[in-house]
């Protein structure tokens, strides 16, 4: 009895100590956050209710939101962004996972070699990458993909300039372009799986696919969730591809919300409207993320 009380007492003390150290651990991060993220966030929220002018903004209540929501193009852009996200995020995760799995059985040196090969493209700047992709997708016979099609006697395509293929082209570019860091993160997760799991499975006569299905996938769940959520966030904000490659066309089939926000903020000087659209986008992303956490289930510890 006496003993139990001391333990409980010590437990309480522990908890309080934990509180303090918890706050100390996050102190620097939170200060940075307040200044460089929360402050801009609050500022954006305030601006979204204004007709913003650097000298003399006026309050316009919900006008910016009404303008944003009543604009047909905004909805089309939402749809495009959703389609783009729904295609790129899961597919690039699958690709990263498969590549990571394929790299796994090799010896150290070979592993490093392949990891480097797949990570290195991340160092190329967006300018270089988009220059090269414009050539790859050029609709004339000089385009790289079209040269390939001609070689196989197939009809050439109008990659970025036809409504049928423009969105798919941007998706393909994302799939082939930016998986380096996902692969690295997946490999780190895979390397961390304890071999005893597999040994036990081996004894039970499990096949390769069974091991992937019942050991690797569940154990990689926090990693997958992380990549999925950050992937969704990035993909919802994407605009540079539409900005540099298609200008949103043809027929606004590749106009992303990010492009509208960019144009309103930096091209038309409608900063209040841009903020309203950004807040709406944030709400949309937050909703998607919340669903993700729910769907991911309760068996993962966050």
């Amino acid at each position: 009895m006496e003993q139990q009380r001391t333990i409980r007492k010590r437990g309480k003390l522990r908890i309080r100590e934990d509180h303090i150290s918890g706050y100390l651990f996050i102190a620097v991060a939170m200060v940075v956050f307040l200044l460089f993220t929360i402050y801009p966030l609050i500022s954006a929220v305030i601006t979204s209710f204004q007709n913003y002018k650097p000298f003399g903004s006026t309050w316009v209540k919900l006008d910016n939101y009404e303008t944003a929501l009543s604009n047909k193009l905004f909805w089309k852009a939402c749809r495009n962004t959703l389609v783009y996200t729904a295609l790129t995020v899961p597919l690039s995760l699958v690709i990263a996972f498969i590549v990571a799995l394929m790299i796994l059985p090799f010896r150290r040196g070979t592993q490093s070699f392949f990891k480097s090969l797949y990570y290195i493209p991340a160092v190329a700047s967006a300018v270089v990458t988009s220059m090269v992709w414009l050539w790859i997708y050029d609709s004339s016979d000089a385009g790289l993909f079209n040269q390939l099609l001609t070689f196989f006697h197939l009809p050439t395509q109008q990659w970025l300039t036809s409504s049928k293929t423009a969105m798919l082209s941007l998706v393909l570019m994302a799939l082939l372009g930016g998986n380096g860091s996902s692969i690295i993160i997946y490999i780190a997760a895979l390397m961390g799986i304890d071999n005893t799991y597999f040994e036990a499975a081996e004894v039970d006569g499990a096949t390769f696919w069974q091991k992937v299905r019942y050991i690797v996938l569940p154990l990689c769940k926090p990693t997958t969730l992380f990549l999925f959520i950050t992937g969704i966030i990035n993909s919802f904000q994407v605009f540079i591809n539409a900005y540099m490659m298609t200008g949103g066309g043809p027929d606004n089939n590749t106009t992303m919300i990010g492009l509208l926000i960019f144009n309103n903020a930096f091209k038309y000087g409608k900063y209040g409207l841009a903020c309203a659209q950004a807040i709406l986008l944030t709400i949309l992303i937050a909703a998607m993320t919340a669903i993700q956490f729910k769907v991911a289930g309760s068996d993962v510890e966050y």
Binding site: K53, G248, N252, A265
Partner: protein, 457 residues
């Protein structure tokens, strides 16, 4: 002691000012002042040239310090917007004039007439000042007007029966143009290629629009122009050229069109400027030493005006580049006068001559043209004549357009016309459908009575 010194200093300043005022009949302040300028690379090494001009300027006004912030060409607009929105705009910024409305709307643009040095405004071509005017208010000074039309391969054009010299000096009709590109189209060569994919679609609409007599977003009586019959004619013409195979039935990237010209895969290309003569000549020279584009052939570049449809008035699309004074936290009347002194200096005389000259353009102010008289361009006679003619055909936006109207026009261009044009090129919509969509949107935004639906002659 300090106070006394300060008072003495102030007294000397006042005294010297009044002395100057008495001497010249004009107040020249020698109070120290710093002027900031955000300068994108308008021409190669622009900031280097700018430093030289600042030295010259400082010989006259040693009290005015100029701080240059170099910018990049592609991202200058985003940077400038951010600075303006932060209330930290540079004193002087460079813009393409169709974006003027943005800065007027933000409340950072400034009516320059009150701050302009006495008698200096007359130096600038009045017609060009229209580009910097919104709501009858003048907001900046022009640096040059880039004339944008078409360019061609002289040998091919002559083989197709075109009298190049006559076209360069007198212009041509749309029928003549159509006949030429029909003859110029072979299995390995398009008669006509215009960069019209992605973000270049806007240029295509503006420049090729002049073929149908569309010179600006608004007509002289301030009605929206892209709902006119001229627009429908233009769209139908584009539809016809593409379906006949004289022009690629896909969007062409900006880089591709020049490659096609340099490799003999097209006869006429756009958008093209007089400056391209230099680009093509560089490539010709590179054929020997291996620095030219793969598959290049020797091409003699000719700058051509856009053809003109029956009943329409010939114009040339011009894009004015200008310097604007902008409002920031430090802006005062006295400061603005200093700002305009320097702004006027770099937009006129020798600096204007050099900047425009490097773009193979003539200056748009009297003093600039005088300074240019002594410069020689590496330009063929025919191209020089065609360029001079094009300059005379440029029509500035009608005066009286408001910032709001110009803003709506820009949005319709980006969100309706450009995407639909891309669809038209890809054969996914028809000219009539596209025209109807534009009308529907424009009527909703401007009101039908403010849109021109007849023919603009």
């Amino acid at each position: 002691m300090k106070k006394l010194l300060a008072m003495l200093l102030a007294l000397t300043m006042v005294l010297s000012m009044s002395v100057f005022a008495l001497a010249d009949g004009e107040v020249i302040s020698d109070v120290e002042d710093t002027i900031t300028i955000l300068a994108p690379p308008i021409i190669t090494d622009y900031t280097t040239h700018l430093q030289g001009w600042i030295e010259e300027f400082n010989k006259m006004y040693p009290n005015l310090h100029i701080e240059v912030t170099p910018s990049s060409w592609d991202d200058n607009v985003s940077r400038l917007s951010t600075l303006c929105l932060s209330g930290d705009a540079p004193d002087i910024a460079n813009i393409e004039c169709q974006t003027l409305g943005t800065y007027v709307d933000m409340g950072v643009a400034i009516d320059i007439t009150d701050y302009m040095p006495e008698g200096r405004l007359e130096d600038y071509d009045e017609s060009v000042l229209g580009y910097m005017t919104l709501d009858d208010t003048l907001y900046g000074l022009p640096l040059y007007v880039s004339i944008q039309a078409m360019g061609g391969n002289k040998a091919m054009l002559e083989a197709a029966g075109v009298d190049v010299e006559k076209v360069q000096t007198e212009g041509w009709t749309y029928e003549e143009f159509l006949e030429a590109i029909e003859k110029g189209t072979t299995d390995d060569c398009f008669g006509f290629v215009f960069a019209n994919a992605g973000i270049t679609t806007t240029d295509f609409v503006h420049i090729f629009g002049s073929v149908a007599g569309l010179s600006n977003d608004f007509t002289a009586d301030l009605k929206y122009a892209y709902t006119s019959e001229n627009m429908l004619n233009l769209l139908k013409a584009i539809e016809e050229i593409i379906s006949s195979g004289y022009m690629p039935n896909y969007g062409v990237e900006a880089g591709t069109r020049l490659v096609m010209l340099e490799t003999g895969e097209c006869m006429i290309t756009g958008k093209a400027m007089p400056l391209f003569e230099s680009n093509v000549n560089t490539n010709n020279a590179g054929i020997a030493d291996g620095t030219a584009v793969e598959g290049s052939v020797e091409v003699e570049y000719v700058f051509l005006p856009c053809p003109i449809m029956e009943g329409a008035t010939e114009t040339c699309y011009g894009m004015a580049n200008a310097f604007l004074p902008l409002r920031n936290k430090n802006t005062t009347d006295e400061h603005l006068k200093n700002v305009m002194l320097f702004l006027d200096y770099i937009c006129s005389g020798e600096p204007a001559a050099k900047t425009a000259g490097d773009c193979y353009l003539s200056a748009v102010c009297e003093s600039g043209r005088e300074a240019q008289a002594s410069m020689t361009l590496d330009q063929s006679e025919g191209n020089a004549a065609a360029a001079a003619r094009a300059v005379s055909l440029v029509v500035a936006p009608p005066s009286g357009v408001t910032g709001e109207q110009s803003g709506i026009a820009n949005t319709i261009m980006d969100e309706i016309i450009v995407p639909k044009m891309q669809a038209l090129i890809a054969g996914e919509t028809t000219a009539q459908e596209m025209y109807d969509t534009i009308c529907e949107e424009a009527f909703a935004q401007f009101g039908e009575e403010n849109c021109e639906t007849g023919f603009i002659s």
